[in-house]
């Protein structure tokens, strides 16, 4: 197993992605490593959950029907919450949007497919912030 998974602290992770397969699989390997995981397969539920509870890491997809990732980001006002977000998307991200994400405090933007070791490493880094 990867060293990056050996995070001692139990993390609370929220996955907001409309792809059910991916959310199930990510939550499986996170749970296997004793992390708590909540899945939101639509933007609205994701935003509600995010507003109500505190998470160490939030994995956010951008392209979703109805409320998409961009809209969710516009509604989040807390800098702490924004800094805990990892954008994980299969969409192309323009330079302009990358710049905007950085301006609001999002440092980790990953484009699918992402190597799992890389993803775990990023989760670990963000959770330590």
């Amino acid at each position: 197993m990867s060293d990056s998974l050996s995070v001692k602290k139990e993390l609370a992770v929220l996955i907001i992605d409309d792809n059910e397969q991916i959310t199930k699989m990510i939550s499986t390997f996170l749970r296997l490593n004793n992390h708590k995981c909540i899945i939101a397969n639509d933007g609205k539920y994701g935003l509600d959950t995010l507003q109500k509870e505190r998470f160490d890491v939030i994995l956010l997809d951008l392209a979703m029907p109805e409320l998409d990732g961009y809209e969710i980001l516009e509604k989040i006002k807390s800098p702490d919450k924004l800094s805990r977000i990892i954008i994980l998307t299969a969409s192309n991200i323009t330079k302009e949007n990358q710049k905007k994400f950085k301006e609001i405090g999002i440092t980790t933007i990953l484009q699918k497919p992402v190597d799992i070791d890389v993803l775990l490493e990023k989760i670990t880094t963000i959770s330590k912030c």
């Binding site: 699989m25 390997f29 299969a90 969409s91 699918k112 992402v114 190597d115 799992i116």
Partner: protein, 316 residues
């Protein structure tokens, strides 16, 4: 006073008569009064004259004629020839037009140089019984004609602190072609976002601007409305009426600005950059998107299988 009197030998109704009338009108735009213009035209076409000859020919009272000659001399487009009595003549029209233009330029430059003085003096004046003005952020201004609108655009783009948002069809912005409109936008120091119908035929309007700042406005919005928003605090809304002069409304009404800003944000989010592939490649994009998702699923699945295997071995 008839035109025949202004220029001897040119009769009413002739082609030349109409030309003289037109020249007369144009000279008024260069800052001459109707009588100054007539004296200048008369002198130019009839040669040097005394003040009394001019007064008699043009049927202008003698005292007024002297005043007019004096003012035209000060403007630098006629001169006097010493003698008894003094005679007057004019400089050629091409030189006169240049002199009049330079006079206007100097006047503008003088006005500009006095701006700081008037402002500092103004600030020394006390307020006299002024009450709190609730309409401070609810002002409306109707601007008519291209120049006043351009002046307002320049003012908005120069004083913006956060962003400038522009929405509108190319047809509207083509009206500003050959003006400093694009220069104003190029000099914007804050975030500039433009939503426009970016056609191959009309995109020259935005020539020289960063295409990364421009998104393509859906064809369904074509011709409907155009506006410019500054810092979520001011808006210039263009009124499309092909039968009348170009008009726009400027306002800092918060509700008006917020409504148009929300509309802008909504359309901006749903639109694509002009540099991005257009709708014809949407299927291709979706396919690419789905392929990446499948690839991601595969990677996670492999990872899970590998780790299950390791765990099972560990149990053994």
């Amino acid at each position: 006073m008839t035109m025949e009197e202004v220029v001897e030998g040119i009769s009413h109704g002739t082609k030349h008569y109409e030309s003289v009338e037109k020249i007369n009108k144009i000279l008024l735009q260069y800052g001459l009064t109707p009588n100054q213009s007539k004296i200048y035209i008369h002198l130019t076409k009839s040669g040097e004259k005394t003040a009394s000859e001019l007064s008699k020919n043009l049927k202008i009272p003698r005292t007024e004629t002297y005043h007019l000659l004096n003012s035209l001399e000060q403007k630098g487009i006629i001169f006097s020839i010493f003698g008894k009595p003094s005679r007057f003549n004019s400089i050629p029209i091409n030189e006169a037009v240049t002199v009049l233009i330079n006079n206007e330029k100097k006047r503008i430059s003088d006005l500009e140089s006095k701006k700081d003085t008037i402002l500092s003096l103004w600030n020394t004046l006390p307020e006299i019984g002024k009450q709190n003005d609730d309409s401070e952020d609810n002002r409306f201004q109707i601007l008519q004609g291209r120049n006043p609108i351009l002046v307002k655009i320049e003012q908005m783009t120069k004083t913006a602190n956060e962003c400038i948002h522009i929405l509108g069809s190319e047809t509207n912005f083509i009206r500003f072609y050959h003006t400093d409109f694009v220069e104003f936008l190029k000099n914007v120091k804050v975030r500039l976002e433009i939503l426009t119908t970016f056609s191959e035929k009309g995109n020259y309007v935005f020539e020289g601007l960063e295409l990364e700042n421009i998104k393509k406005l859906d064809e369904s919005h074509k011709e409907n409305f155009s506006f410019i928003i500054k810092d979520d605090s001011e808006v210039l809304f263009f009124i499309n009426n092909p039968e009348s002069e170009f008009m726009a409304i400027w306002t800092d009404s918060r509700s008006f600005v917020m409504t148009l800003e929300s509309l802008f944000r909504l359309i901006w989010r749903k639109s694509i950059f002009v540099l991005e592939k257009d709708d014809s490649s949407t299927i291709e994009n979706e396919f690419e998107h789905r392929l990446r998702e499948i690839e991601q699923e595969k990677l996670i699945l492999n990872y899970l299988q590998k780790n299950f295997h390791i765990k099972n071995e560990g149990v053994k």
